[in-house]
Symmetry: C2
Subunit: 426 residues, 2 copies
């Protein structure tokens, strides 16, 4: 289903209306007690389960269109729902309902010499616009996380999944109404016209407080160019695993294989392996054998090629997020060179050192300027669930506001409450 809107002016008008509806709903959602939002989340999960036939039928329509349009097999797999996947989506919403209430928490609390008591308390951001691609579960995850954190959300899903997203959104909105909250706290943009994205990025006349883009490089480039409201950036994950001279060999092999091959298509997968020269000759053959046996292609610098035959890596390889079973390999002269390589080519997402040397580990933790810095653990732990946040809206790679895995708390901000007894300022 696509609503056909004839002109860009008409789309802008429609989008401004969506913005006003979200803004109008924001106060009710923000002021509702946490228990009401929890009730709404449980009702949303129940409504998804109850609407399973309609959601699966809508998904079938998306899949049929995808076949006609010649979507790739991985894209079709991302798009496809069945009863089990739909139950997982509903269970995800239930899990968010079970999370602690992030709002109202007192982050800081102090009293000034003049008797003013100052508290910093957690509040919602307001209205959040989320731009994403074809996975239908994002519709439910993003909608649920925004409600958990007291926000309203305007969802702009990819055209491939528009029917599934529309059916899922209808269920979420019924759940909101079951709890006495405004349905417009969750809205899906009902057109796949790209002009609607431009409209959202301009902020809908001040109605949008934050944009969260989840997608590939072209979306990110467009957002950076066009956004006139703050953006919670989720850029690429050009992650490194660095095997230090003090590494335990068995851990180094296991961690590299897991970091690269557990799932190659996620942002936390390692794209470049750095090895200290002193241990490269011993370790690289073992690692290469394990990876090659699992179908991974290696692309190395001259020193790596001298140890194990592999394709020559070019400068471009150090800058490439493969999201595929390909690993760039570089031999480095110690931790300083490794940190410099990561600062030069990395994306500030997730980087790991493998070492038993505590001093080297602490230096790496301190000097690598990425959202997540690991010692002796797979880069694939870059995930909100693995951090204990429940669902995540993504991994923030910007430097402001929320970084790393962003869950409900990352969608909040704060205000200061000041209680006085008549103090005037001298």
């Amino acid at each position: 289903m696509t609503v056909h809107v004839p002109t860009h002016d008409a789309i802008e008008t429609m989008m401004l209306d969506i913005g006003q509806r979200a803004r109008a709903a924001a106060k009710a959602v923000r002021d509702a007690p946490g228990a009401a939002r929890t009730f709404a989340l449980k009702a949303m999960a129940a409504r998804i389960r109850a609407a399973a036939p309609e959601i699966l039928a809508a998904n079938a329509a998306d899949l049929e269109r995808g076949r006609r349009d010649g979507l790739s097999a991985p894209m079709m797999d991302r798009l496809a729902l069945d009863s089990a996947r739909l139950e997982a989506i509903a269970a995800g919403v239930d899990a968010i309902a079970a999370q602690d209430e992030p709002l109202g928490a007192v982050i800081a609390d102090w009293t000034r010499p003049n008797g003013l008591r100052i508290q910093r308390v957690r509040i919602p951001v307001g209205v959040i616009g989320i731009i994403y691609e074809s996975r239908p579960n994002v519709t439910a995850d993003a909608g649920a996380l925004c409600i958990r954190s007291g926000n309203c959300v305007i969802l702009r899903g990819g055209s491939d999944a528009i029917d599934s997203s529309t059916a899922l959104t209808a269920a979420l909105r019924l759940g909101l109404q079951d709890a006495g909250l405004p349905a417009d706290a969750i809205q899906l943009v009902p057109t796949t016209d790209r002009a609607a994205v431009g409209s959202l990025l301009r902020g809908l006349g001040g109605a949008v407080d934050l944009i969260v883009p989840r997608g590939g490089k072209s979306l990110v480039a467009r957002v950076q160019d066009e956004a006139r409201v703050p953006v919670l950036a989720h850029l690429e994950g050009l992650c490194h695993t660095y095997i230090h001279t003090g590494a335990d060999a068995a851990k180094a092999v296991a961690l590299t294989v897991n970091a690269k091959m557990r799932r190659t298509g996620i942002c936390g997968s390692t794209e470049t392996l750095l090895l200290d020269r002193s241990i490269a000759a011993d370790l690289l053959p073992v690692i290469a054998a394990e990876l090659t046996a699992r179908g991974c292609e290696l692309r190395g610098d001259a020193a790596a090629q001298a140890i194990v035959p592999m394709t020559a890596a070019t400068e471009e390889d150090w800058r490439t997020e493969y999201l595929a079973p390909i690993l760039a390999v570089r031999v480095v002269d110690g931790i300083e060179a490794a940190i410099t390589h990561i600062a030069t080519y990395g994306s500030g997402h997730t980087d790991c050192i493998v070492t038993e040397d505590a001093e080297a580990a602490e230096r790496f933790l301190r000097e690598v300027d990425s959202a997540i810095v690991l010692v002796n653990a797979s880069t694939q732990f870059a995930d909100g669930g693995e951090f204990g946040f429940g669902a995540e809206i993504g991994i923030g790679t910007g430097r402001l506001h929320a970084r790393g895995p962003v869950g409900a708390e990352g969608l909040t901000t704060y205000k200061y409450l000041v209680r006085g007894t008549g103090q005037t300022r001298p």
Copy 2:
């Protein structure tokens, strides 16, 4: 002194070089121990004192140009330095040197069931661009706050104060060198050409992490339109004082007078007074007499005019940040109407309720969605010093990252440190 640069291309080239210098300095400043930054700050204060003759001579040149250009008396006063004001600037830098180190603080710390220990630690933002107008003290305050928080800064001061700012920046840079830190951690854009601002707002090829604009509406509008990097917004302060029916009369009078008249030109001054209808007839005459005696003009709605003769307020008055001895006055029907007025016309900066009714106070604190919400205290407390933060870079009115008074901590962000023992992700 103005460096004359012939073309916009040349300015862009110069600005990109400034960005690269800042980026090159960033790692040294970030990795330096807190004690080194403290030493640098003390040295900066000493260098300002030592350079007093040069700084005052530069200021005299600015003042002479200001007279020639016909700057207003308030502008000339903002611009002027003397020995006492210069000592206050140096003492401000010393006070920032005495502040607690914000970096390295562990904000959160937990261990996952798989044994991964996760810490969220405070780190600098990186390179900050600050665009401001004519007050020379901002050069020293902003430079010092950025060093305290481990950042590098590119200062773009107003043309009126360019000689003063140049002389102050030279002293700050000598202080950095005294501590063995790179002088390029603090740079002043050496041209007053507005093209340099555009260049900074585009982010200098990725070198700038954050823009902090401090200025009037035209600067803010330009920043919102042109910025391609995150902005820590300091918009206008359209602050309200609301006198609830449960107010103590003496407090209501004293707070209103202080909130409006202590200093009318600062962002925390109250611009609109809201009074509950039930107490307006009793209180407004007293408040109006006190304000009028101090030279304040009142502009009221029909109900206020019926109580005290005053100019009629128009819709525009509710939206105006006067920054002058003028107060808009509106009689409202209770707390709900007051909160709605503030939501409609306010700027999300600072708002106060005067009441002895605890329930009304808590409702106001909860439902008013501004950076600072006060009970029974003057809106003029909206200030980093009054919050105990020492110097401030301004009052954040955006919703993301840092809100309210922004001191050194507001110029930091965080990263996650994850310590494992070889964990792979299942």
